[in-house]
Amino acid sequence: MDVKILCLTRGGEGSYPNQDKAIAIAKERGQEMMFLYISNIEFLHHTAAPKVIDIEAELDELGEFMLLMAQERACNEDVTAHILVRRGFFQEVLSDVIEEFNIETVILGSSSGETGIITEEYLHDVTCELHLKYEVEFIILHEGKILKTYRVETGDSGCLDGQFED
């Protein structure tokens, strides 16, 4: 598998514009891509109701189904897309996958506000940290448009809020 582009997605209709943009980027560059779904059941930790079923397995299957839909969308554009479901926390999983597959570009959506799983600030911090650690390009999308790009420029020592593109 020679995957260079990693796209994090939660699936669902709200993610379609960003998925389509990620597919377009992969097509433009002629590279294979991978859709990643991160499953996390931390939202259950505050409840007192019985949690006696294996909900993690259910969420994994849900995630896989979402990614299959994304994979079909990529296939319709003649882009080869692999899918991967992992459990855990956002930064840890992302870090592991980047390392495991030698990812060069990470594409993810910006925080979705009150319904987002992570805040804008957290996203920025994680992105900067991983961008500098792995020298990986990060592209942040919002409603199908590129919001921010983090590129490793020769001589750059910091994480710049960079270049805004259409």
Partner: protein
């Protein structure tokens, strides 16, 4: 000995003491062990003799007041003649060796009531002298809104807020409340006796073990049944049967969810139905929320039909001796009407999704959907189903011999564990002990506010408002509890309402049919549909949908949930009027 010496040698006392939690614990232990004026007491005078004075102590609800200290003394309380405590039924007996020649004082003291002093004059004493017995009769004590009252009230409100605002896990919040109650009782009372709420033993007496064991038994049975994948399979069959007619799909899903929730807890039902329903919705090209929200609403309503359908029904059934059959007979038709009305509203509200042409699904996605909805273990399913059926029969037959439903539930769960899961570790993790501890701690916290009279106050206020008007009483409970339940966690709310409803049941003519308890059942469950925070099944479903960027916002839920809540409450109210 050598090991102990080594251990002690390793301990740095300074570091240990500087550990703040340990220091606090040590300080409290020292405080509790110091004999204070309130704890140390002179030996009370012996309660013996040939002359006896009898009385009974009641609170404003006519409930017996236990553990009140009753002291007989001479004029001005100078010299104590005898002392006793009131019993479980509120009665007390003071025995005197001889009748005092002049006045006799009887002092009655209880931490939660205003002290009372009765003075017996000479002619009353002559009666005692002649007959050897004097009956004081029933005496209603006035509540004292002392430090303990306010402490227990604030603790209860604090627990509700901690749960509602998700500052702490629900179980932790309940445990914190319980700990605060005992801390205030034992430590606070050293400084002011008014802080005393109840003893540890008394606190534990509020735990309803029938509820604990019934929940535990059903938990195990539910875990085994739902692990078979039966609900995901049923959801997929609904998708197949509907053949692209989205309106039919949602109606079938509503029916499945309501039925499942009637027999198994709605929280776990939604945990299982939501992922597969999301997949079906996306595959069909309809907004998945149009399928998910109706299922949430159906799960909250459907569970009202049976004893085990909702945790609140389990609480109510155990407290008021309402059986499985009672719930089934008295609630089901009302629930069906409410579901029909709900379905009509849903079909109208989401008409654009339900009456549009479904998207075609690719063979690969269809196959994946089918795989995700397969039954994991058909063999376990028939075994679990058989045992579950026997448990239901056990509920019904057990009613004839006043057998607690906890018994068939525990027996059924044990049979399933032995039959299907011989691994002890698996047995342990099949039970969600966190939930059981939540119930136990909650019982103690609610017991505290009952003990200090907060619930009695509420009951009296409601009784004054309702008078003899039973329909008004039903209305107030259905809609009052229903409205509160939209924002307050329904389990603690229902637990707190039980003594109030019990009091009203005794007071209001015609309420002995237990209609007010059914009203509580309807209000507590249906109210959970009002807002996203109204029920745990709502929140967990929203948590799952959020994982897929298909969020259920508070506003979106409110637009559907609030109207459905009041429609179903109205139907529930009318049904109860007709039924009773």
């Amino acid at each position: 000995m050598i090991n102990l010496f080594l251990i002690i040698k390793r301990i740095n006392p300074v570091r240990v003491f500087l550990n703040v939690p340990f220091a606090v614990f040590l300080l409290l232990a020292l405080l509790v062990s110091i004999p204070g004026e309130t704890l140390a007491a002179d030996q009370p005078p012996p309660n013996e003799g040939d002359f006896v004075i009898i009385g009974q102590l009641l609170d404003e609800q006519g409930q017996a007041v236990k553990d009140a200290v009753v002291t007989a003394s001479t004029l001005d309380g100078e010299y104590a003649l005898a002392e006793t405590e009131s019993l479980e039924d509120g009665t007390w007996r003071i025995f005197l060796v001889e009748v005092p020649p002049e006045e006799l004082q009887i002092s009655i003291n209880h931490p939660r009531f205003v002290p009372v002093t009765l003075t017996f004059k000479m002619h009353e004493l002559e009666d005692l002298d002649n007959v050897g017995l004097y009956q004081v009769g029933e005496l209603e004590l006035e509540r004292s809104f002392n430090a303990g009252f306010w402490a227990a009230t604030l603790i209860f409100i604090g627990v509700l807020l901690l749960i509602a605002l998700e500052k702490l896990h629900s179980t932790t919040a309940a445990l914190a409340g319980m700990s605060a109650v005992f801390l205030i009782s034992y430590v606070g009372s050293l400084f002011d006796p008014g802080f005393f709420i109840f003893t540890f033993d008394r606190g534990l007496s509020y735990i309803n073990w029938e509820v604990i064991f019934l929940v535990m038994g059903m938990m195990i049975i539910v875990a085994i049944i739902e692990a078979t994948g039966i609900f995901q399979w049923m959801a997929f069959q609904a998708y197949r049967l509907s053949r692209g007619r989205n309106w039919l799909l949602v109606l079938i899903l509503i029916a499945i969810t309501a039925f499942a929730s009637a027999l198994l807890d709605n929280f776990t039902t939604m945990l299982l139905m939501t992922p597969i329903s999301l997949q079906i919705g996306l595959a069909l090209g309809i907004h998945p929320i149009a399928l998910i929200i109706p299922q949430i609403l159906a799960s909250n309503i459907g569970g009202i039909s049976t004893l085990v359908g909702t945790p609140t029904n389990i609480l109510i059934g155990a407290y008021a001796n309402i059986t499985f059959t009672d719930f089934l007979v008295n609630q089901t038709i009302g629930v069906i009407f409410a579901l029909i009305a709900m379905s009509a509203f849903i079909l109208f509200h989401y008409r654009k999704d339900f009456f549009k042409k479904s998207a075609d699904i690719s063979p690969a996605l269809y196959q994946r959907l089918e795989e995700n909805a397969r039954m994991e273990d058909p063999q376990n399913l028939w075994k679990a189903g058989t045992v579950f059926l026997l448990v239901i029969i056990g509920f019904i037959l057990g009613e004839q011999v006043h057998l607690s439903p906890a018994v068939p539930a525990i027996i059924g769960a044990t049979i399933l564990l032995i039959w299907l899961k011989p691994d002890v570790h698996q047995m342990i993790i099949a039970v969600d002990w966190t939930t059981l501890v939540f119930f136990m701690a909650l019982f103690v916290v609610v017991g505290a506010i009952q003990e200090v009279g907060l619930l009695g106050l509420a009951a009296s206020s409601m009784a004054n408002l309702i008078g003899d008007n039973l329909p008004l009483g039903i209305f107030m409970i259905v809609f009052g509890v229903g409205t509160l339940s939209t924002i307050i966690a329904n389990i603690p709310l229902a637990a707190a309402m039980l003594p109030i409803v019990d009091f009203l049941t005794v007071l209001i003519p015609g309420a002995d049919s237990k209609v007010l308890f059914y009203a509580l059942s309807m209000g507590a469950a249906m109210g959970g549909n009002g807002t996203l925070i109204g029920g745990e099944a709502n929140l967990v479903t929203a948590g799952i949908t959020n994982q897929t960027n298909t969020p259920i916002t508070f506003r979106e839920f409110l637009k559907v949930g609030l109207p459905v809540t009041y429609i179903s409450l109205a139907i529930g109210f009318l049904w109860l009027l007709v039924r009773f």
